[in-house]
């Protein structure tokens, strides 16, 4: 039996259902997909009591999100489950691009050296969710305050001044919960979003995709194959991607206005797949589905005590694997802020920075995925003319290959205009400027990111920090001993101090020790001071 057919977290009656007044919880997360699970794990690790509600009782059906970028893996490392996820996944770097009936070029994405994690991995969403549920259970057995309630569908959301009232439908009937904060991770069809009457804004366009999971009976190369306008899917695109366990993902673009039932019939699908894979390749069809997407977001991600993350807040086309990857970065950004607010260490205005930072990130993802969609499905004659010209040239002219856009790899957003960051007055390397996520580098006993925790910290490279810094953990490393660390953090400078946030993004950096400037940057980064210092 496949994992997605097994109830992993069956409905169990909660004492909250018998309470005379709604039980109050610091945080309720709605939706146990990858984003909601990651949020609950991060909160539980910080000893913030969290209830995770899901209308289902099992992991997702079908492979769905399959590509997880390096930043997501680094977040999983921080959450304590990176190894298990990477161990179950496949890594690939080679690919082929086809145009009409010919192969126009091959590529090998050589990853930059000196990072613990690869640029991306492939793993079925249901496998990822299974591993995240396991991590959540482990935390619970360690005594962390986390509860995953299956078969619990939120049907009503009533925001109040000091809390939000949720109505939860269960097999035993409805009950109510009071949440100080609600994190809505309930996906593209978010109930919470609908309950708050929020609409998606921006450029909306829809396209149908057929996705199929196929098991190959024989060896097949571990490569990504992308077809533009192939003979077996005229005017559209197709993608073949490797997953673990001998399963391959096939994405066929179908365009708008199709007959969904008809397109999913095996009699229709199998001949197409034969044309894709070659007549002599034996395969078995495991799972098939038709889905649509749009590129849009809600205007604001914070609505009082309700915070939206993942597909509930923004949606993108599948090109570039920006859906799950950006949702995980939402959670990475949000949870430490929630913790500080709940503990009274920062004012609740700190949560406005979640909106200020993640809205531009969503826009960047929407921009990238819209550009990919425009390249893959040209919407005008001129657009098709240039698209085809790029593909024709790409066969013989290397100059055209960077213009071929079948999805741009998801990279973490740099919070350039964040209200939490202090102005950078240094000549230190651009890739570690304020707003950037800390860049990994090998250090003698392992990796830099492994040494960083998930609190505010001061990374001191070749600069002596005399005393203790209030509220900050100091991590001191020598300069001149780790070439890649020096290259990424120092450049030509003899030493530097980096103020890192709990999500490992750079908040400020200095080339000399000045306790007042460090303290000011920390107050600003933790939302305790908004004026420019």
């Amino acid at each position: 039996m496949r994992v997605s057919e097994t109830p992993l977290y069956p409905y169990e009656r909660s004492p909250d259902q018998d309470a005379s007044t709604p039980a109050r919880h610091p945080v309720v997360v709605v939706g146990a997909g990858p984003v909601g699970l990651a949020a609950a794990i991060d909160l539980a690790r910080r000893d913030i009591s969290v209830v995770l509600l899901d209308d289902n009782d099992r992991v997702s059906h079908g492979s769905r999100a399959i590509c997880f970028a390096k930043r997501a893996l680094e977040i999983f490392d921080r959450l304590g489950c990176g190894d298990g996820i990477v161990d179950h996944s496949v890594t690939w770097s080679r690919g082929k691009v086809f145009f009409r009936d010919r192969r126009i070029y091959e590529f090998d994405l050589l990853a930059e050296e000196g990072h613990r994690r690869p640029a991306f991995i492939n793993l079925q969403q249901y496998r990822l969710e299974e591993l995240l549920v396991r991590r959540l259970r482990d935390l619970r057995s360690e005594g962390r305050p986390v509860e995953l309630r299956g078969g619990s569908r939120v049907t009503k959301v009533e925001p109040g001044a000091g809390s939000v009232l949720l109505t939860v439908e269960t097999p035993d009937g409805p009950y109510r919960l009071e949440a100080e904060w609600v994190v809505a991770c309930d996906g593209a069809g978010s109930t919470v979003r609908r309950e708050l009457g929020l609409d998606f804004a921006g450029r909306v366009f829809e396209d149908n995709f057929l996705i199929a999971d196929v098991t190959m009976k024989a060896d097949f190369p571990t490569e990504r194959w992308f077809w533009f306008d192939p003979p077996f899917n005229r005017g559209q695109s197709a993608l073949l991607h490797r997953q673990p366990e001998g399963v391959w993902r096939i994405d066929l673009q179908l365009g708008p206005g199709i007959d969904r039932e008809e397109e999913q019939r095996p009699e229709k699908v199998v001949p197409r797949l034969r044309q894709m894979l070659g007549e002599d390749v034996e395969f078995e069809l495991e799972w098939i589905s038709v889905y649509t997407f749009q590129c849009a977001r809600i205007e604001r991600f914070r609505h009082g005590r309700v915070l939206f993350a993942g597909d509930a807040a923004h949606q993108v086309s599948p090109f570039g694997a920006r859906g799950a990857n950006s949702g995980l970065q939402d959670v990475d950004n949000l949870v430490w802020k929630l913790e500080r607010v709940l503990r009274g260490r920062s004012p609740d205005s700190l949560l406005d920075s979640y909106d200020a930072e993640r809205v531009p990130a969503a826009d960047e993802n929407i921009l990238n995925s819209t550009r990919s969609t425009d390249f893959i499905t040209p919407k005008s004659d001129a657009s098709r003319l240039f698209r085809d010209a790029v593909l024709d040239l790409a066969e013989t002219q290397p100059m055209a290959r960077p213009l071929v856009n079948s999805g741009r790899l998801s990279l973490p957003h740099v919070y350039v205009d964040s209200p939490l960051h202090s102005a950078d007055r240094s000549d230190l390397p651009a890739r570690t400027r304020p707003g950037s996520p800390a860049v990994d580098a090998p250090i003698d006993d392992g990796w830099l990111l492994g040494r960083l925790g998930d609190r505010f910290q001061l990374l001191a490279l070749g600069i002596d920090v005399p005393g203790e810094e209030p509220g900050l953990e100091v991590i001191s490393l020598p300069a001149g001993q780790h070439p890649l660390l020096d290259e990424r953090y120092l450049g030509e400078a003899p030493g530097a101090l980096y103020l890192l946030r709990p999500d490992q993004h750079v908040a400020a950096r200095f080339t000399g020790y000045d306790p007042e400037r460090i303290a000011a940057a920390f107050r600003r980064a933790s939302g305790q001071e908004t004026a420019d210092s």
């Binding site: 003319l385 240039f386 085809d388 010209a389 024709d392 040239l393 100059m399």
Partner: protein, 65 residues
């Protein structure tokens, strides 16, 4: 409008123009359009400078009917 060269810059302009027309001779409208698109992309890559390219696009758009 400072970086795009708008003064004559091609030696033997008549020869270049003839070559350009010869390139399109015997081609259908569709083939010519595709060829022009490839030519634009090759030349744009050679120029490389985004500001020059932007100015060229604007100059071309301004003179269009």
């Amino acid at each position: 409008m400072t970086r795009l060269r708008t003064e004559p810059n091609i030696s033997d302009g008549d020869g270049f123009y003839q070559e350009l027309l010869e390139l399109h001779q015997g081609r259908s409208k569709e083939e010519s359009d595709a060829l022009n698109a490839r030519l634009i992309l090759l030349l744009a890559n050679h120029i490389g400078d985004r500001e020059v390219l932007r100015e060229a696009m604007q100059a071309a758009a301004r003179t269009a009917r």
